[in-house]
Every structure is written in C-alpha cells, then in structure tokens.
Symmetry: C2
Subunit: 72 residues, 2 copies
DNA sequence: AATTTATGTAAAATATTTTTTACATAATGT
DNA sequence: ACATTATGTAAAAAATATTTTACATAAATT
C-alpha cells in the first residue's frame, strides 16, 4: 500500500568490475557508510546524491532508483 | 563548473490547468512553503518528494528535475 | 476600490540525511 | 593460518530538508 524507494546499486556495482562501496563513495564524495545505508535502503538519498550515483554508472536516475509499491 | 539541480515545476504547473503551489503541495503531502522553496531551487527535495512531484505530472523524474552544469 | 487568492519570504522547531569514529564479521589473498 | 580488504552496523554530531506560524506583496475577481 505504501510506495518505497528501491535501488539497484549492488547489481550495478557488481556489473561495473565489482566496484566496491568505498570506491563508489569516493566517486560521489560521500562516505562508505552512506553508500552502505542507501544501498541497504535504510534511508533514501538526497536527490543530488541520487543523481551523482546514477552518473557514476552512466544510467538515468530511474534505472538506479525506483519509487514502487511494496507489499507492507 | 558545479552541477546543480534544476526543475521545471512552474512550467509543468502552468501546463496543468494552472495548478497552484498549494494544490501541488496537497497532492504530495507537503506544505506550500516546501513547494515554493523547491520550485525556486532554494534547496533540492528529497528523492522521495522528487518522485511524488514527478508522479503528479505523470512525467519521469528526469523530465522534472535535471542535474546540470550551471554557468558561474 | 475592495476582497480574495496566489506567491514570496523568514525564523524557529522538527525530521531526515550525512559524516565521523569505531568496532565486528565476512571474504579474499598470500 | 595470517593479513588485508570489503561489508555491516551503531551512536553522536553536523548538515540539510521540511513544517509551522506568520506577515507581506502581487495578481485576479467581484
């Protein structure tokens, strides 16, 4: 009933030569802990961070993050 | 040299029967002041709010918000 | 001209995101 | 087996987003 922000970060990291969380963090000027939390969907990133992450993978934002209905 | 989050909210509001800031705010469960600030790019919204706004206009997020190099 | 509606703005309070520091475990390499 | 690298997690502080309350002006309506 409620929409949630989902992401494909882990999949994209692994597809990109197994980029580590720390490497991704460095590329977006954030910390490893932030990447870890966002990837685990502990919280959603700011729009700016979301754009930076999508840019790293050369994907449109909506290929990385989706706003979707989730069962409970 | 720096990228910034730009938006087309005003344009989209006007195209949608001149939807007011207050009406948009209500549809996304935010306040009129928040819509006003985001529209004026005083700050960028959370990713979730950004998705909600895009949904109201039936547009993909990247049609509403762009992360672009800005002169100056 | 007077009234109502829409927008701009601001300060303080609250909520959320991000950093910093730190430790623990899992996975990989030597 | 040992050492190194990657990931998970947590608590407190800092930064940023959002609300609340309030007032001011602009624009539209009667």
């Amino acid at each position: 009933m409620a929409k949630k922000v989902l992401n494909n970060i882990r999949k994209l990291r692994l597809e990109n030569n197994g980029m580590t969380q720390a490497e991704l963090a460095e590329k977006i000027d954030a910390t490893r802990q932030t990447v870890n939390a966002i990837e685990a969907a502990k919280y959603a990133p700011s729009l700016e961070l979301a754009f930076k992450i999508a840019d790293v993978f050369g994907e449109p934002l909506e290929m990385v993050f989706e706003y979707k209905l989730t069962e409970k």
